[in-house]
């Protein structure tokens, strides 16, 4: 039993790190652009398929796929921003329109991936050496440990960027007061394009990590990650980057420990229990007191 709990804790941290990155991107997008990105899960799975193609066609291992995904998704995000987002501003209710548009994007992207890769679940047939490592009394796959290391490094780098550099502070300032950032002379359109590109870049990287952490993925896996992402965003407090990172870990731990302690059917509703519970008990999220103004 003890090793089961330890197993749950370790795996909770590992998948929690992935959820934290998804939540962080979504909270940035919502905070800076007021966009509810329902297609984020598909962006993420797009990253998984990129790693799959890079490995199967060119023999590029997942770790080397990380920078490729980061750069290509960042660039694609930049382009997508200028293609899609400024048009939304012409609508009377940009928030609702953005929701509908991204929902449409989500369906369209899933369909494109289905066309390209068919409905079978895929996995990357790449093995680290050794294939697993001993952590205390249990064995954890090396791929998962490597993925967790990468998650920690990326999270730390993002937190440093957002809390210690002026451009990062400008992003957070935009979340705090979108009108004030414009009157102090910051070009909020450029900043928004950067935020969209950054979030998309993180999505690409997250996708590669998912290929390492989870046994398989398919064209329809995206929706599930989007929903988990939104639960994490709400739990962490809307527009709160550190909150999203912490909430991602909490969600991962809750999900993994639930599979240890609860029957399968119950374990699956733990996530939604967290969502409903947060909204009922603490609608501002765990770090929500920071958002009260």
């Amino acid at each position: 039993m003890e090793s089961l709990v330890l197993n749950g804790l370790i795996n909770g941290l590992i998948v929690g790190g992935v959820y934290a990155l998804i939540g962080l991107s979504l909270t940035l997008l919502y905070g800076v652009l007021r966009i509810v990105n329902f297609a984020h899960g598909e962006f993420v799975i797009g990253g998984s398929f990129l790693a799959y193609v890079l490995f199967n066609s060119l023999g590029i291992p997942p770790l080397l796929a990380l920078p490729v995904a980061a750069v290509s998704f960042f660039a694609a995000g930049w382009l997508a921003y200028y293609l899609l987002i400024p048009r939304l501003a012409r609508s009377d209710d940009p928030e609702i329109m953005s929701f509908l548009m991204m929902y449409g994007m989500s369906i369209a992207l899933a369909a494109v991936m289905l066309l390209m890769f068919e409905a079978d679940s895929r996995s990357i047939d790449y093995a680290f050496k050794p294939i697993s490592m001993k952590v205390g009394p249990i064995y954890v796959s090396t791929a998962r440990i490597v993925a967790f290391g990468v998650t920690v490094v990326i999270s730390a780098a993002l937190a440093w960027f957002l809390y210690r550099t002026l451009p990062g502070k400008a992003l957070r300032a935009t979340i705090m007061n979108r009108e004030a950032i414009q009157i102090v002379g910051v070009d909020v359109e450029k900043l928004s394009a950067f935020a969209f590109a950054l979030a998309t870049g993180i999505a690409g990287v997250t996708g590669v990590l998912i290929a390492l952490v989870f046994p398989a993925f398919n064209a329809f896996s995206g929706a599930e990650y989007s929903i988990i992402g939104f639960i994490v965003v709400v739990l962490g407090g809307l527009g709160n980057p550190i909150g999203a990172l912490i909430a991602g870990i909490i969600y991962g731990l809750a999900e993994q420990l639930a599979t240890v302690f609860l029957p399968q059917a119950l374990a699956q509703i733990v996530g939604f229990g967290i969502l409903v519970g947060t909204i009922l008990i603490r609608p501002t999220g765990i770090l929500g007191w920071r958002a009260q103004r």
Partner: protein
């Protein structure tokens, strides 16, 4: 007592630094908030905008600063039409806005709030340091609290930070919207003295205010808006001498301008 006048008003033909020309602003397509509003900000002066609640004073200011796009009419800087120019480009033209309500980044420190205002020249460390120093020199309490979160300060201190932030950028024009709303009377008096002294430092002022008494006391020229239109405007001399204007103001505020 007639208010002290620093100048005889705008010389004829003197070009306004900032101007609204017959501006209409509409929400949701056809609800007109402003109809044909015109006003001119003369260099080296304090121009006041007063009017009852809902007259469109703040809307006019937001239209002037590019935060709202007029459906008709023009915004001009130094006589050049800039209608539709984005708000963040006004700082480069030397025009700063201190809007109504809170315009600070609450979770960031006082110093970070000031640094973000230096965004357009952020790579020029010497210039950024000089800008910070200007704000601290004007309001020394900001320097003491430079590491504090802006949102943790009192309302008055936050207002000083907003004023210091605008001043740090060495603007030639400052637009102020209700600068003493929700501020304790003693601090408010201090803020009006500060505003009163700006033209002598080469800074032109546009002051939108609910506080008619103070606005008329320090302004050179006053615009009265009502229901989204220009009602009247005139020099402060005209306001204090004209019985009709005095009774007009007495109608919507409980305040009498002494002749």
């Amino acid at each position: 007592m007639a208010p002290e006048r620093r100048s005889a008003g705008a010389a004829p033909g003197e070009r306004p630094v900032l101007e609204l020309r017959a501006v209409d602003v509409a929400y949701h397509g056809d609800i007109r908030i402003l109809q044909g509003v015109s006003m001119a900000v003369r260099p080296g002066h304090i121009t006041g905008v007063i009017g009852p609640n809902g007259a469109g004073k703040s809307t006019a200011l937001r239209a002037l600063y590019g935060l709202l796009k007029p459906v008709a009419g023009d915004v001009l800087i130094d006589g050049e039409a800039v209608t539709g120019m984005k708000p963040w480009r006004f700082i480069e033209r030397g025009i700063a806005l201190v809007p109504q309500g809170r315009s600070l980044f609450n979770e960031l420190s006082v110093e970070d709030n000031l640094r973000l205002a230096c965004w357009s020249f952020r790579k020029d460390q010497a210039r950024v340091a000089a800008a910070l120093e200007r704000a601290y020199e004007q309001f020394p309490m900001l320097k003491e609290r430079r590491k504090h979160a802006a949102g943790a300060m009192s309302g008055g201190q936050q207002r000083f930070l907003e004023l210091g932030r605008a001043l740090a950028l060495q603007p030639r024009v400052i637009l102020l919207d209700e600068p003493t709303a929700m501020i304790a009377p003693k601090l408010a008096a201090e803020i009006y003295e500060f505003i009163h002294g700006l033209p002598a430092r080469g800074i032109t002022v546009l002051l939108v205010d609910q506080n008619v008494r103070q606005c008329v006391r320090i302004a050179d020229h006053v615009y009265v808006l009502e229901l989204g239109r220009n009602k009247v405007d005139g020099s402060v001399g005209e306001f204090t001498q004209d019985a009709d204007l005095r009774s007009l103001i007495a109608e919507w505020v409980d305040y009498r301008i002494d002749a």
